[in-house]
Symmetry: none
Subunit: 236 residues, 2 copies
DNA sequence: AGAAACTATACAACTAGACAAATCATACGC
DNA sequence: GCGTATGATTTGTCTAGTTGTATAGTTTCT
């Protein structure tokens, strides 16, 4: 008789609730147990509905915490000027960076080549997370030439915006020379930091920013949580 | 689908930090609360990681004071006497070897030359993993001269320490004649065995041990997981 | 008979919050 | 200058709640 499975109608009911504004982005749904009793079914049946919605990106569950309504993906424009803080602020959320590592060391072959330095030149490395509000968006490793920007290490300890840090080091403006995009699977640590499963793919961008004289000032690798961000390219 | 528990990734990340020298012996780690927010998890999850590391002797915590680095994961001294079991035990952890391959065969050109044997002489080969506690530290291939040490093949089946195996074959003591160090990227198999990404570099050492009469008794190649081990050289 | 949907139970992993106990830094009194 | 009181920090412990996963059994439809 029941042509449609129970779990599908549960998913539909929950989607209707969300569409009606009953639950907004970021809100916590009732617990699986509560939903199970509300719909008069077993918890596993609810879980199937929730699992389906999670796969479609509507929900995200955190073990031990609950199930939450996911925000629609952030539009991240990549063009001549790539500015993280501006992009996030445009979506009405608070851009943040959390620094995981900050060090000076000799650059490896790839880094010195990208920054057009002599082999073995010192570089300043900043690794961290980009957040929109509370949600981690991306994991990045930025490499700066230390001889051209000797004060970056110190500046980055106090300033979280790259744009601002560069400005404080004499780079008033900078533009993106090139951006390469690939897909990668997250390492265990990345999955942890970005709060996603090891099976969720990342979008990796490798980019070089140069100052107005054409000198490279930053070689950056960024791993975006694929389903939280939509990269958009424009030639402006 | 979280294959590796979160707390294990946290422990691994902290161990890597310690191995990289971000926190030295005796240093105080960030507070549990700070680590929790850095990794985006609950404090209890951090505590589980710290507890695991404490059990392995890497950390020591004092109520009200903080968590301190007891011993860096692996300071691996390379000098006249290179003793894997001693080095690991000194860090308060259980040294282990897991044998992957054990065989006798004619030695190739490089092996017979290093061991000062006639071309085509038989050698005993032992390939395996070195572990500190649960953590794989290195992948090694040891080659022994079979005519000087005919019993090694059998002894190595029962004894995990090279020092002990050599002693049982009449080599009471031995010293390192020379050690060469290079960097290599791991093969897929090595990455798997050492539980690291194929992008994580290895430190490769090639060494010759000789008995007190100056006869080579072991020609060993070892690939260390670069972020878990710090090789230290001394001329004692 | 077999597959799909659903139920039932149990445990592991993680979150959340609260409070106790030890430690540390600082100000105060003398 | 020195000991002490005090309050903030930090780890240790406890209770409770939530999601993830595994196993096994029942119903229903074809």
């Amino acid at each position: 008789m029941t042509r449609t499975p129970v779990w599908k109608s549960i998913a539909a009911a929950l989607e209707a609730d969300i569409a009606a504004g009953h639950y907004g982005a970021g809100d916590k749904l009732p617990t699986e147990a509560a939903l199970a009793s509300r719909f008069g079914v077993n918890r596993h049946t609810v879980r199937r509905a929730l699992g389906d919605m999670s796969e479609r990106g509507i929900l995200r569950s955190r073990r031990g915490a609950g199930v939450f309504v996911e925000a629609p993906p952030t539009e991240y424009p990549i063009g001549k000027r790539v500015r993280f803080h501006q992009s996030i602020r445009a979506t009405g959320r608070l851009p943040q960076r959390r620094v995981l590592r900050l060090e000076s060391r000799p650059g490896d072959a790839g880094e010195t080549k990208a920054l057009e330095l002599n082999a073995g030149s010192m570089v300043t490395v900043c690794e961290g997370l980009s957040l929109a509000g509370e949600t981690p968006i991306a994991h990045f490793i930025s490499v700066f030439p230390q001889d051209r920007l000797p004060g970056m290490l110190h500046t980055l300890e106090e300033v979280t915006s790259v744009t601002e840090a560069l400005k404080l080091n004499g780079v008033a403006d900078y533009v993106r020379r090139e951006t390469r995009v690939t897909a990668e699977m997250p390492s265990a640590t990345q999955a942890l930091h970005l709060r996603l499963r090891e099976s969720d793919p990342l979008v990796k961008t490798v980019g070089i920013n140069e100052d107005m004289e054409g000198n490279p000032v930053e070689y950056g690798q960024t791993w975006f949580a694929g389903d939280r961000v939509t990269l958009t390219f424009s030639n402006d």
